[in-house]
């Protein structure tokens, strides 16, 4: 590998390099400006936007890279393709939003002297996620998952303000370690059978019916355990509510969006590159018969959304409720994966994009309110719609969108999902999903009920929020409404990005 080829290959990981550089810059600046940390978020912005620039610039770049020497040409460590780029954009945009989020959050402000640490860890997460969405080798997959995990363990307990931070951190750690251990064990089994950790090699291997079904099933389930933990799919979701509740709210929002997106990208790439034997003209994925991904994911997803929705019914802590709701949404998105077609993939990406906006929006409003009232308890939301009309309306929009009612983006997301399901003849599943969304209505609307229908004695206590926050919230809410009415650009984007490098 000469310098020249090194230079050409730079394009493939330019965003990752940018992020890494930014990470280092943050650490350095943290050391230099010991007292004044104000600059650090701006470095973070800089890093993210430069990375975004590189992603956008190389959006249509495809190819695999960083081969292990013994393997043939098409088996690199990473696959650069539009699919990956889309998720990178998703991750970077949500990171940018989260950085704004963090700047505002009182929790983070209170530990501002450690801002360098905080942003460095976030960048660690970003880096891990960026690799997750492009990795096409099990080793790199494992490494990137670990990179993401290790950073997020710390972030979950970052603020140290309350007992629950530390507890969240510990639970996340132990759970995560076990899950990644399971995944690793699964990977080792796959390696034993295939003889390589490369997904393309796995695909080649599966073209022939050679594998031991039991071992292979075990391996697949174990690997899924690792991914399932990242996307908090039942029954690997147990950490989610506890950690989401315990972690600082900015991190909760981040985990619920970006790290989930990375997990999904990983899962999709795993299936798409590792297991798909061929794709027919209609875009349906024909999966190697050894492992029935479709039934498996459907079972998991039904379990996930049902559990998420029904558990959310009883939550009085809004953060915890949103945690369960994000579990439920993972269930819906999994259905899109279960369709196993380009169509389903499109639905997943649409869903994710909208989910990112509405979920971050919802968490942001909850954060702003919690910062003022010091509580995330639903009873403290009584009359909130009158105390802070803007936040009330915005939260209403986000929650309605999460329910999936028109004219919000959430509806479009669900619509495309159901379109994919119906198209694949999974009507029964679609019905279950629809019924689930009716159940979900109940707990989302419950919040609205508390905000508007229940009066409290503090009704007159109006509270002010800063102009930038107003803009942020209004912008997100407007975007959600806009996406509900005019979503052509999003679809345009999405339909172009389902290209994979094999």
């Amino acid at each position: 590998m000469d310098l020249n080829s090194l230079y050409t290959s730079f394009n493939y990981i330019a965003p990752e390099i940018t992020i890494a550089v930014a990470l280092i810059m943050i650490v350095i600046f943290d050391l230099i400006f010991d007292k004044n940390k104000k600059i650090i978020p701006y470095i973070a912005y800089l890093g993210i936007f430069s990375a975004l620039f590189f992603v956008a610039a190389n959006f249509n770049l495809t190819g695999t890279n960083y081969k292990v020497s013994s393997l043939n040409e098409s088996m690199g460590m990473i696959s650069t393709d539009t699919f990956g780029s889309f998720f990178k954009i998703l991750i970077l945009v949500s990171s940018a939003l989260i950085i704004f989020f963090s700047k505002t959050s009182e929790e983070i402000k209170k530990t501002f002297e450690r801002a360098g640490e905080y942003y460095a860890l976030i960048f660690g997460m970003i880096l891990g996620m960026m690799f997750m969405v492009t990795a096409s080798d099990l080793i790199l997959i494992y490494l990137s998952v670990e990179l993401l995990s290790l950073s997020s363990y710390v972030l979950a307990g970052f603020t140290k303000l309350r007992d629950r931070n530390a507890e969240a951190s510990l639970k996340y750690l132990i759970y995560g370690a076990v899950a990644s251990g399971l995944m690793l064990f699964g990977i080792s089994l796959v390696y034993g059978m295939v003889g390589s950790t490369n997904l393309a090699a796995l695909n080649n291997y599966l073209q022939l019916p050679l594998a031991n079904v039991l071992t292979f099933t075990a391996a697949a389930v174990l690997i899924f355990a690792g991914i399932g933990y990242k996307i908090s799919a039942a029954p690997f979701h147990f950490w989610t509510p506890d950690v989401y509740e315990g972690a600082p709210i900015s991190i909760t929002a981040y985990l619920s969006v970006a790290s989930k997106a990375a997990g999904f990208a990983l899962l999709i790439r795993l299936i798409r590159i590792g297991f798909v034997r061929f794709i027919d003209g209609d875009g349906n994925w024909h999966i190697s018969g050894i492992f029935d991904w479709q039934s498996f994911i459907i079972i998991i997803s039904i379990l996930t959304m049902t559990l998420g929705n029904f558990s959310a019914l009883w939550q009085n802590n809004l953060k915890r409720m949103l945690a369960y709701s994000s579990i439920a949404h993972a269930g819906y998105i999994l259905l899109g994966v279960a369709v196993l077609s380009n169509h389903g993939l499109m639905a997943v990406m649409v869903y994710f994009f909208i989910y990112m906006i509405m979920n971050i929006g919802a968490f942001f409003v909850v954060m702003l309110i919690a910062d003022k009232t010091g509580s995330e308890d639903i009873d403290d939301y009584n009359g909130m719609g009158y105390r802070t009309p803007l936040l009330g309306v915005a939260l209403t929009v986000f929650l309605i969108s999460l329910t999936g009612l028109p004219p919000t983006g959430g509806f479009i997301a669900k619509l495309y999902l159901f379109i994919a399901l119906v198209d694949a003849n999974l009507i029964f599943v679609a019905v279950i999903a629809l019924l689930n969304s009716v159940v979900s209505l109940y707990y989302y609307v419950r919040v609205l009920k508390h905000m508007y229908l229940t009066r409290s004695d503090k009704d007159d206590l109006l509270f002010e929020i800063s102009l930038s926050n107003k803009f942020f919230v209004t912008g997100l809410a407007a975007l959600i409404l806009l996406l509900g009415i005019y979503f052509t650009p999003l679809l345009d984007l999405v339909k172009n990005v389902s290209f994979f490098t094999l």
Binding site: S341, L405, P406, V422, N425, I427, L435, V438
Partner: protein, 535 residues
Amino acid sequence: MEGFPILSLLTFLPIIGMVVVLALPKKLELGIRYTALVFTGLQVVFAAVLLANYNYAAAGIYEESSFQFIEKFRWIEIPGVSWLGTVKIDYFMGVDGLSVPMILLTAIISFIAVLSSWNISKSVKGYFALFLLLDTGMMGVFVSLDFFLFYVFWELMLLPMYFLIGIWGGPRKEYAAIKFFIYTLFGSVFMLLVMIGLYFSAMEVMPDGSKVFTFNIIAMMDPSNFTVEGILSPFNPNNYRFVAYLALFVGFAIKIPMFPFHTWLPDAHVEAPTAISVILAGVLLKMGTYGILRISYPIFPEITRDLMYYIALFGMINIIYGALCAMAQRDFKKLIAYSSISHMGYVLLGMASLTSTGINGAVLQMFNHGTITAMLFLLVGVLYDRTHTRGLNDFGGLATQLPVYTGFVTVAFFAAIGLPSLSGWVSEALVFIGAFSVESIRTLTMISTLGILLGAGYMLWTLQRIFLGKLNEKWAGLKDLEFREYAMLVPLTVIIILLGIYPSAMLDIMNTSVNTLVDFLAVNVSNSASIGLLN
């Protein structure tokens, strides 16, 4: 009128009103009220303009070219997704004889509902903003010809309604609001599913000759537009059309509301503020039956045929059951709510007949029930404003104290129990005429006529309990109607009497369309049968 987007104007005028209301300062309550009044008033004016320019001879129903005031342009278009073809959703509005009466109804009822909301004092701004949003949703449902658009408007009115009941409602408002919300959403998710299924089964031919999947309701009515393997395509031997029909029907039935999906209605009515009850009974319930006529019937004609007996059966149950329940009520508003259920049963019965007279009667009944029940709820509201009670046994002898009010009540009551020369009777009679002429549902029709008797029973009993007898001294100080109340009651009374005497004013609008629909149902069945799709 060529090219003038009157339907969009009708639909989005309230939204503009909402923006204006939101822009006004909170303190300017009177200004907000007048804004709402002006915008709904403009809506009435535009509805009248629409009627004036409406061509009575054009049929609509399944023929896109004979719809009127068409506004159609591409809303969403994503060309060339390889495996999906072009994804397109149209912004497609148009009216025919089925929708024009509903548009008129919506405009009139909204205007009157604003008048009856005049006394709302709790967060006036929010109330009228939500109200106008609701108005847009309702109007949109009646003008949309694209399923997607239809669905968006359908769901759009959910949330304002929830808040309007939930914030400005009575003591158990939260329960009622959430019940309304969940029931309706439950129904609409099924609708969503069917909508998607239809999307994948029907392809529309584009001007350039290519075929794309479509949400166009009109296109879905033409069997030749269906793909061979679409799950809701009649050409697919394993199609799910039957199941889809049921699902869609449930979605609409909840709105009607049809037994046994009706229990949200009494609660919602009792708790809702007067104006919202008026809207609910006057317009919202019609969306269910309108949906069935606009979507279920022409898209699934063969299943409609198969199931007409059951639709009639449920119509009959609605009529009898609603009436019996109404009789047992002690709350004035609840009684009216149950009577609504009973009266919507006539609509179902008329639709089930699949005859011109029956469906004409059904559509006319939708309009008439809208005006009559709206008036009844307004009257309940008038009384409640003064006495703060709705118990039927708390009154007595009010006719002595409030003669004019009693006069209006009498008109409304007799219209509701189907007194000839008032509008309610004409539609009920047409429904019965239509239904009776069909042999399979003749027995059901005869049983349904008992509804006329039961209706007279509970209405007159109510009239007696509240207005006749000795004046309950507690109410000796009540004042009769004031100007604003006249303003909302007189137009409705005029409509009720006018349509009772000259129903053609409304029937002529819908006639051509209804005939076409009936013809379409019959012809389509024979076509399908001849190409071997049925059995």
